[in-house]
């Protein structure tokens, strides 16, 4: 029969030492990693397998919506004026829904800061009281077409970028990035934080708004595609993206700004913040993935997000349901003087980039930040390669030079995650667990298994 007549080629799953004999005999072999499935309910896997063709068709449709998306920066506005459902007493936050009582330190700090910034409380003490009073409502950014990094706090007067998916017509919103150090998104709320937010509202926002209006729109998708070729993965590294954005916006800022001094201050601010582009890459991802919502029978993820307490996911085919589990503490490189003991569990909507095939999924494109994954460029490549195992397809636009311009792994399939045990790989910044301290490190983590197990089991139970 065939086996004896063909060249023996072995896939070894389990004990790696078994490859030695094969290697010595000149037989080609590959070691395949094995991880236990996330769910012990084998009947559900069988049910998913029975429906595989249908699910695949649905996922193809959902993935097509993501790949066809044409996200462009089309304007700016105040949250209260443009974000759907925004109200004066509403605060939007990162991740799945959470009450004040369960919020982590940095998110509480950011809420306190936002209440002071809005003039709803005169100091931190008053803000904390108000925050806990029940008079302030909290809802996820994701439920308002928004995304926010880290604490992800959006309040009524905050200016937001407006990103339009010109293919499907939907919109996504994100605030302007404050930079590093003591900033609201890491839970800082001191006077300098509020002062910066006010400057961003009164100076940065009008200047950028006028500049964007004079340009009409800025194509973010091709900007991200270029940034990947320049060493960004547009989550932990946004240096190229920020530079590209700067190049696009600078002439318009100078042209539209009434005072050269203001124009210089605005451009200096963007130039001085390597992460300025992050909020745009997040809004671009959000605009792309929201278009893929509501595809019946699709097991593709449209959201991965964390609120510093819980990690939550949403699927295209399961409507507005959140599947959550405890957020893990990232494995990170810490700034001097800090350690894992200081770290808050993972936080922020920025995992929307991974959901869109960027960030950790595109880390093979960002060799400059491989110290986050052990310092070895090959490790980064391997992380990206592993993600192809759990995705529905590959990007047609975002490509990785090192992989011969292969498209990034895009569209996480919860069934593949549950079955293979391979968890999405996420780049992330790390917040101090106490409000007001700010960022203490950056690194990577694998998403926790629980939300995926729950999402898979729920999804599979609805199958016939």
């Amino acid at each position: 029969m065939k086996l004896f007549e063909s060249e023996l080629k072995v896939v070894n799953i389990g004990l790696e030492s078994f490859r030695q004999g094969l290697t010595d005999a000149g037989v080609k072999s590959v070691q395949a990693q094995f991880k236990p499935p996330l769910s012990g309910e084998t009947a559900l896997f069988a049910r998913a397998a029975k429906n595989a063709a249908k699910i695949e068709a649905a996922n193809k449709k959902a993935l097509a919506k993501v790949l066809e998306a044409k996200p462009a920066l089309v304007g700016m506005g105040r949250a209260i004026d443009v974000v759907p459902g925004m109200k004066k007493d509403l605060i939007l936050h990162a991740g799945p829904p959470i009450t004040w009582a369960r919020m982590c330190g940095p998110m509480r700090g950011a809420v306190i800061g936002a209440l002071i910034y809005e003039g709803l409380a005169k100091d931190a003490k008053a803000a904390e009281k108000l925050a806990a009073s029940g008079r302030i409502k909290y809802e996820p950014c994701h439920e308002h077409n928004c995304v926010g990094p880290m604490a992800g706090i959006v309040s009524a007067s905050m200016p937001v970028f407006i990103v339009k998916n010109q293919a499907a017509g939907n919109y996504a919103y994100a605030t302007q990035n404050e930079g590093l150090g003591k900033v609201l998104r890491y839970g800082a709320y001191g006077p300098e934080v509020i002062e910066r937010l006010k400057w961003m509202e009164n100076t940065l926002y009008p200047a950028l708004k006028a500049a964007i209006e004079s340009l009409g729109s800025i194509d973010l998708k091709s900007m991200v595609a270029q940034a990947l070729h320049m060493g960004d993965e547009v989550h932990n590294r946004n240096r190229a993206g920020t530079s590209l954005f700067y190049r696009a916006i600078a002439p318009a800022v100078i042209k539209t700004c009434p005072e050269p001094k203001t124009a210089a201050a605005v451009l200096d601010f963007i130039n001085g913040n390597d992460h300025f582009f992050l909020n745009l890459s997040m809004a671009l991802s959000k605009a792309s993935l929201d278009a893929a919502r509501g595809v019946k029978g699709s097991s593709m993820l449209v959201v991965m997000a964390r609120n510093g307490t819980d990690f939550g996911v949403q699927l295209s085919g399961t409507g507005g349901l959140w599947f959550t589990g405890p957020a893990p503490v990232p494995d990170a490189l810490y700034f001097p003087g800090y350690s894992k003991a200081d770290a808050n569990p993972d936080i922020g909507d920025s995992a929307i980039t991974e959901t869109n095939g960027l960030g950790g999924f595109a880390i093979a494109a960002a060799p400059a930040i491989v110290q986050f994954v052990g310092g070895n460029a090959a490790d980064a490549v391997n992380y990206t390669l592993a993600m192809y195992e759990i995705t529905c397809g590959e990007s047609n636009i975002y490509k990785i030079p090192y992989l011969n311009f292969r498209g990034t792994p895009t569209g996480i399939d919860v069934i593949k995650v549950a079955k293979s045990g391979i968890l999405p790989f996420i780049d992330t910044g790390v917040a101090h667990k106490d409000p007001g301290v700010g960022q203490v490190g950056a690194g990577v983590l694998s998403a926790p298994p629980e939300p995926f197990a729950k999402a898979f089991e729920h999804f599979a139970r609805t199958l016939k």
């Binding site: 060249e7 080629k9 499935p37 192809y388 195992e389 293979s420």
Partner: protein, 517 residues
């Protein structure tokens, strides 16, 4: 003091974990340790050692539990640190993208175009579904994993049969496909003898004897021990026979098995009858009375089967097989005389084996020489040892039985338990002969001499009249190199024979000659 560390959601295969535990136990100040996935079964296992702390009890299936019993907190901390390092150790060569691990099965198949064999050694509860997936992807499967349910085995084998694929196992330790040793196998010469074996050590022994006798192996297919049970009906064994019958490179076929179910044996022999090539069969502890066909040859021992196959393979008369055995017997008789002369009186024989099939073979050969022989794996239930740890009279034990291997690597890899027993048996004045097997090859202990010699030296110090007889299952091209191991053992005072059967006969003869005094 007992200290515990739980690592949530960190999966490691049990062999890696046992290797870590083994290392921790050698650390100073560490009395005992358990490094296990916190499954219910594992909790049960470590309960006995007193390492089941409340933290371990509370941990779940997907959590890694490290429990250390240590003299000081510092020793426990050092053990945890060492465990961390061992578990996260990266391979020596930088894993470049070209030699990277595949993230999963699909990835592996993409990396290795035309992959046609999957070797699976993950925990039994995951092995079945994984094997099914490999079959779906048109790969043959060797299932090293044990603890796979019988109905899963049947379903896998039926699915494979439909697609013309082979499922070797579960609990299949060895095979040689297209010249390549798979899992626990030896580096043997290629040749015209094809083997199908429902016994792992049996397959190793016959392929080694054939190769060392100057003949060679075309293919050696393992079936897993349960294949010849009524429930499975020898699906793989019969598929293997058909494949070897059709294989132009195979001119002689050799079947190795424990006695199959009667109905299954009938099926096997019906298949043998159709084969237009000479067939040799050994059913250890069983007999084939049927003549089957003119060029069918039954054998009683692995040795006889191997040498008969060699004669057929080389076109010699089958009777020559006896001559090969006769030659080794001449040498054995002389040695036996010398050894018996050293003793006041020969009394008990104790066989400490790492290979299960050798225990069966010993029970076929020894009773004729020494009389009643007990075992923890008896061919006849009548001779079951009451307590495997308290040997009495003449006894042979299989250290690869579950009672010894739970929470410990297989005795072919980890000699520590047998080493302890070599010394403790030697201390008993009634013990005159120790009978051992040393199995070489891929997968087996890579430093057998280094590991076994101290125990042997100690044994001879404790018992000046003791004889130690051993066989070494291996070839010159095995990573351990047979002649080096033989020389080392002989230097330590061990009488080394070319086969397990010959070693059994020598050990038996020493007892027989010495007991007449």
């Amino acid at each position: 003091m007992i200290k515990t560390v739980i690592k949530k959601g960190a999966y490691f295969d049990s062999v890696s974990l046992m290797q870590v535990a083994k290392r921790l136990n050698t650390m100073e100040g560490v009395l005992d340790s358990a490094v296990v996935m916190a499954t219910r079964e594992n909790k049960g296992i470590i309960k006995a050692s007193g390492l089941l702390t409340p933290e371990v009890e509370a941990a779940g299936d997907s959590d890694l539990a490290i429990a250390v019993s240590a003299k000081t907190p510092a020793a426990a901390e050092a053990a945890f640190k060492a465990a961390d390092e061992l578990l996260n150790k990266k391979p020596a060569q930088s894993a470049g993208a070209s030699d990277r691990k595949a993230a999963g099965l699909d990835d592996a198949i993409k990396m290795l175009d035309g992959a046609n064999l999957a070797v699976i050694s993950v925990a039994g509860r995951f092995a079945g579904p994984l094997a099914a997936e490999c079959l779906e992807k048109n790969m043959n499967v060797m299932l090293f994993s044990d603890n796979v349910p019988l109905e899963t085995e049947l379903a896998l084998k039926k699915a494979a049969q439909k697609k013309g694929l082979l499922v070797m196992g579960p609990d299949c330790g060895t095979a040689i496909i297209n010249g390549a040793p798979i899992a626990f196998a030896n580096a043997v010469s290629r040749g015209n003898i094809g083997v199908v074996a429902a016994s792992g050590t049996g397959l190793q022994e016959v392929t080694v004897l054939i190769s060392n006798e100057g003949a060679g192996i075309s293919q050696a297919i393992g079936t897993g021990g349960r294949d010849v049970k009524l429930d499975i009906g020898a699906i793989t064994l019969i598929q293997g026979l058909k494949m070897l019958a059709a294989d132009p490179a195979t001119e002689v076929i050799l079947i190795v098995s424990k006695p199959p179910h009667e109905a299954v044996l009938k099926k096997i022999l019906a298949e043998v009858k159709k084969i237009k090539k000479p067939v040799v069969a050994v059913l250890l502890g069983g007999e084939i009375k049927d003549k089957v066909k003119p060029d069918f040859y039954a054998a009683k021992t692995l040795e006889e089967a191997a040498y008969k196959a060699v004669c057929l393979g080389k076109g010699r008369e089958i009777a020559k097989a006896r001559e090969i055995i006769y030659d080794t017997n001449l040498k054995a008789a002389e040695l036996a005389k010398k050894e018996a002369a050293r003793k006041k009186k020969s009394r008990c024989l104790r066989g400490l084996f790492s290979g299960g099939t050798f225990v069966s073979e010993a029970q076929v050969i020894l009773p004729e020489l020494v009389g009643e022989l007990r075992s923890n794996a008896p061919l006849d239930k009548k001779y079951k040892l009451a307590n495997s740890l308290e040997l009495s009279g003449h006894a042979v034990i299989d250290l690869g039985e579950d009672e010894f291997t739970v929470g410990r690597p297989h005795p072919m890899i980890d000699f520590s338990l047998r080493n302890k027993m070599i010394v403790s048996e030697a201390r008993k004045p009634e013990v005159s002969v120790l009978l051992l097997d040393v199995v070489l090859g891929y997968g087996a202990n890579l430093k057998p001499l280094e590991d076994i010699t101290p125990a042997i030296t100690e044994a001879f110090i404790r018992n000046r009249e003791l004889s130690i007889v051993a066989s070494v299952t291996g070839t010159e091209t095995d990573p351990q190199v047979r002649s080096k191991v033989v020389k080392g053992l002989e230097a330590a005072g061990v009488l080394v024979m070319p086969s397990n059967a010959a070693a059994c006969r020598l050990a038996g003869a020493i007892i027989k000659l010495g007991s007449r005094k």
